[in-house]
């Protein structure tokens, strides 16, 4: 009972030795799904001391083999063939009782959503200690001290405090570190990381990636890293397997695949990553054509909580923000979550009321309007939203959803519906789409409908709030192209709010960087990205996954005190 996990841990593997072997794995989807197999005869080998990235878009089945290895598949799917060998044992043949010894002990897993992956009612310390308890290791007291060591190892600044916290008291990045600490507790041979950084801000993502890289190298673990982001792949992978529709279409050494993809799908995915340099040269002749929107001293403070006997808490979301948007210009507002970038957009269109400041739109101050005057001014500035599923009313036909705006301004229903059909064609859908309901469309198509709706009122300005963030990269590129095209054709000005600097670089003429409600810097995209002046901008740009990898060898990322990551030839 008092053994340390180290002494009890299963024998460690020599670098390069296969640890987890997946052979012709087949996982069936329930009848009625869009294809018979979630995973179709997939084979790959995970070796000690390497990071294998499984890459694919949503629905490619990339998480399935990992969940199968853990015996954690959703109830609707089941394995129908193949083997998953861990040290000679086929995990698929193990029953639940044998799997307990594997889970957490020999294979550990971390997940995408750090915000929901921890039990909200248990202290961090208890959740880590529980791992030892489950495998009957250590004494309660040593479990606690070991938990503190682990929290220190994953770089939490105040381990004692983190240990005593509840999850809701920690940030997303901190929670993900806790998840990693928990996964490392029993020194597993294999760490499965399922999109562990997707829900995180870009700088936090960079830190977590570095942490995983460090720990992997220090402990010689095998890491299966599941992601949709080739930038992340470039950052962290030794080898890559690309999945599409449940099949592996290509696998090999990371550098080879990134430089010379052989399969067209891989090539397409890599090409779809917005290239940081591409948008830069379109610089701004636009700005000379005069401004269409002048924002001055915009300020918004939220008041949270407060009640009969409680003092409210205030958060300054937007602090004295000023900028101009040129006619025909695309201005990007970039920042991490909590930077206030979305609040700026929402204050402009008056989905929120700013506390102070002016929003001048061709002689009118939008910030001071209300009632009917606001309603009339609003048609000049429209919005495209983030969530392709939430932005359309499920009970309203698409054509009517587009026509509702013009109808509200007095256009007759027939004309408005006809115009809606034309708009649908303009954004690349069929006119007949007007008679259908939103659930009949894919995410990308819905986003096109959202754009058509924004255009219906013939606005001068479109605010796009994270308009492509919920889409797969290949779709993302199409929507960005469409927006750019429409902007030129209809002489629109575009305010493009995003957390993704790569997207901003692709589409924006000028970029405004925000942090904690303040404007950090504003300038032409080319300058901001190639030569950031402010330290914060520099850290943002440096954190963009995949960017550094192209200029700096991966090894340089890991701290010098650590042993070199082990490379294995395929």
């Amino acid at each position: 009972m008092t053994d340390t996990p180290r002494s009890q841990a299963p024998r460690s593997h020599a670098p390069g030795e296969p640890v987890l072997v997946v052979e012709k794995l087949a996982i069936a989807l329930p009848p009625g799904a869009d294809r018979p197999y979630a995973v179709d005869r997939v084979s790959f080998t995970l070796r000690a001391g390497e990071i294998l990235c499984i890459v694919g878009e949503s629905g490619s089945g990339k998480s399935m083999s990992a969940n199968a290895a853990m015996g954690l598949l959703p109830e609707t799917v089941r394995t129908v063939g193949g083997r998953i060998l861990l040290g000679g044992t086929d995990l698929l043949t193990l029953d639940e009782a044998d799997l307990y010894a594997v889970r957490g002990r020999r294979i550990a897993m971390i997940f995408q959503e750090p915000m929901t992956a921890l039990n909200p009612l248990m202290r961090i310390e208890a959740q880590i200690a529980e791992v030892f308890a489950a495998h009957r290791l250590l004494t309660p007291r040593t479990r606690r001290s070991r938990a503190l060591e682990l929290l220190a190892e994953v770089g939490l600044p105040d381990p004692a405090r983190a240990a005593a916290s509840y999850p809701f008291q920690l940030s997303g990045g901190q929670r993900q570190r806790v998840m990693i600490a928990m996964a490392l507790a029993l020194e597993p041979q294999v760490l499965i990381a399922d999109e562990p950084t997707t829900a995180l801000d870009v700088t936090t993502q960079a830190q977590i990636l570095r942490l995983i890289r460090d720990l992997q190298a220090r402990r010689g673990m095998a890491v299966m890293f599941i992601t949709h982001d080739f930038g992340v792949v470039a950052e962290i992978a030794d080898r890559v397997a690309v999945m599409q529709h449940g099949r592996i279409v290509e696998q090999g050494v990371a550098a080879d695949i990134l430089e010379r993809p052989r399969h067209p799908y891989t090539a397409k995915l890599i090409a779809a990553i917005p290239d940081m340099e591409a948008g830069v040269e379109q610089a701004t002749q636009a700005a000379s054509r005069g401004s269409v929107l002048d924002v001055e001293g915009l300020t918004k403070t939220y008041t949270l909580g407060g009640g009969l006997f409680r003092a409210p808490r205030t958060v300054a979301a937007v602090r004295d923000v000023s900028f101009t948007l040129g006619r025909g210009e695309t201005l990007g507002i970039v920042g991490e979550s909590g930077s206030g970038k979305s609040s700026v957009g929402r204050c402009l269109v008056r989905l929120q009321d700013p506390d102070e400041g002016r929003v001048r739109l061709g002689g009118i101050d939008m910030a001071g309007l209300s009632g009917e005057a606001l309603r009339q001014a609003r048609r000049r500035i429209q919005m495209v939203f983030q969530d392709p599923y939430g932005s359309l009313n499920p009970r309203v036909r698409v054509g009517r959803a587009i026509a509702d705006g013009p109808i509200a301004y007095g256009e007759d229903v027939g004309t408005a519906l006809k115009a809606a059909s034309a708009l649908l064609e303009r954004v690349g859908l069929e006119a007949s789409a007007a008679d259908r309901y939103p659930h009949e469309f894919s995410g990308g198509q819905r986003q096109r409908i959202g754009i058509a709706r924004a255009l219906a009122l013939k606005p001068e300005i479109i605010v796009a709030d994270e308009a492509v963030s919920a889409l797969d990269v290949s779709i993302q590129a199409q929507i960005l192209d469409l927006l750019d095209e429409l902007k030129r054709e209809l002489h629109l000005s575009l305010l493009f709010i995003t957390h993704d600097l790569r997207v901003a670089a692709k589409i924006c003429d000028r970029v405004m960087v925000m942090e904690k409600g303040l404007v950090v810097e504003i300038g032409p995209g080319a300058e901001i990205f190639s030569n950031p002046r402010e330290p914060y901008t520099r850290s943002l740009v440096a954190a963009i996954p995949g960017r550094r990898a192209r200029t700096t060898p991966l090894e340089a990322v890991a701290s010098a005190t650590l042993p070199e990551p082990i490379r294995t030839p395929v």
């Binding site: 853990m70 957490g104 921890l118 009612l121 489950a134 928990m182 009969l308």
Partner: protein
């Protein structure tokens, strides 16, 4: 926590004042003279007596003054006099209150403990026989009228089988004392507490089952399983603790119904609590008594609510910290 309790007590006091005002409104909205409402049955009280009542409660004064008088009376626990029973209303109520607290308290505990246990069991064996049995029984009891169930329980367990007394609070004239008396009361308590508890047990079982299934799908449960925890540990430590929160909320909301149910159960079992008193007041059209009972039962519900709120905070660290 103390701050929270103080703020809750403040809110409770406001609601209680609201209820007293509602009472006042009802007295005045009732068909007929407020004095005759207070005296009991309308029409047959003599004029001098009614005049005396009017003076005592200031019924000839303007309404706001009357309201203030009424409020201050009730807040000093003066609910007036029950002329039917020949006793002050508050004495009648305090006399009967312990029996009601015993009945509804034990029914609450039984239903919560057994309901949560049954619901958790059903959820953990989803689709198996034990799940079907529990779910079906819960569905049945959820649809059964309480008073009818009570009558049938009397018929079966008291009249037919003779296992439990079907009537009263203790054996009359037995001369029991101490433990013997307690055992006798407990024996009398079994049927009423169980029948009252059954309906709520069904409610909590259904809620717990649904909640457990819901929570089972959450990410942190997957984390717990990925750590290699045994299903029982996952269920008790991770799922159940989270799943029980909505049940506690519901239990708080159901407190009002529990008191209402007690009225019916006490009527059937001649259980000498305020529910039975309410039935007597109805039969005798003793509205003053009826309204007094109403205020007291509302206060009881508020107390139940406070208890469940405190329970909730003890289980969920997030709420206390947000304050």
């Amino acid at each position: 926590m103390p701050r929270f309790i103080v703020s809750r007590l403040g809110k409770m006091a406001l609601i209680l004042v609201g209820i007293i005002i509602l009472n006042f409104v009802l007295i005045h909205a009732a068909p007929g003279d407020p004095a005759s409402v207070m005296a009991g049955e309308a029409g047959d009280a003599d004029a001098a007596f009614l005049q005396q009542l009017r003076e005592r409660f200031g019924l000839d004064k303007p309404l706001p003054i009357q309201l203030l008088t009424y409020l201050s009376n009730v807040l000093r626990l003066d609910f007036g006099y029950s002329y039917r029973q020949g006793m002050p209303v508050i004495d009648l109520i305090t006399d009967r209150l312990p029996a009601t607290l015993l009945l509804s308290g034990s029914a609450f505990l039984i239903s919560l403990v057994l309901g949560v246990a049954a619901g958790a069991l059903a959820a953990s064996r989803q689709g198996k026989v034990s799940d079907s049995v529990i779910s079906t029984l819960a569905l049945l009891f959820y649809a059964t009228p309480l008073f009818w169930l009570a009558l049938m329980a009397v018929l079966l367990f008291s009249v037919q089988l003779g296992w439990f007394p079907g009537f009263g609070y203790e054996s009359v004239g037995s001369g029991y004392g101490g433990l013997e008396r307690a055992a006798d009361i407990l024996h009398h308590l079994v049927l009423p507490a169980l029948t009252l508890g059954l309906f709520f047990m069904a409610v909590y079982a259904r809620m717990t089952r649904a909640s457990v299934l819901e929570v089972s799908r959450l990410d942190f449960v997957r984390t717990a399983r990925a750590k290699g925890l045994r299903p029982r540990v996952v269920l008790v430590r991770h799922i159940l603790r989270n799943a029980i929160l909505p049940v506690v909320t519901l239990a708080g909301l159901q407190a009002g119904q529990l008191v209402g149910g007690a009225v019916l159960i006490e009527t059937v079992f001649a259980w000498p609590g305020i529910g039975r008193l309410m039935f007597e007041a109805l039969e005798q059209r003793d509205y003053n008594l009826l309204l007094g009972i109403f205020v007291v039962s509302a206060a009881m519900v508020l107390a139940f609510n406070l208890i469940t709120d405190i329970l909730y905070r003890l289980v969920d660290p997030r709420i206390g910290a947000a304050a």
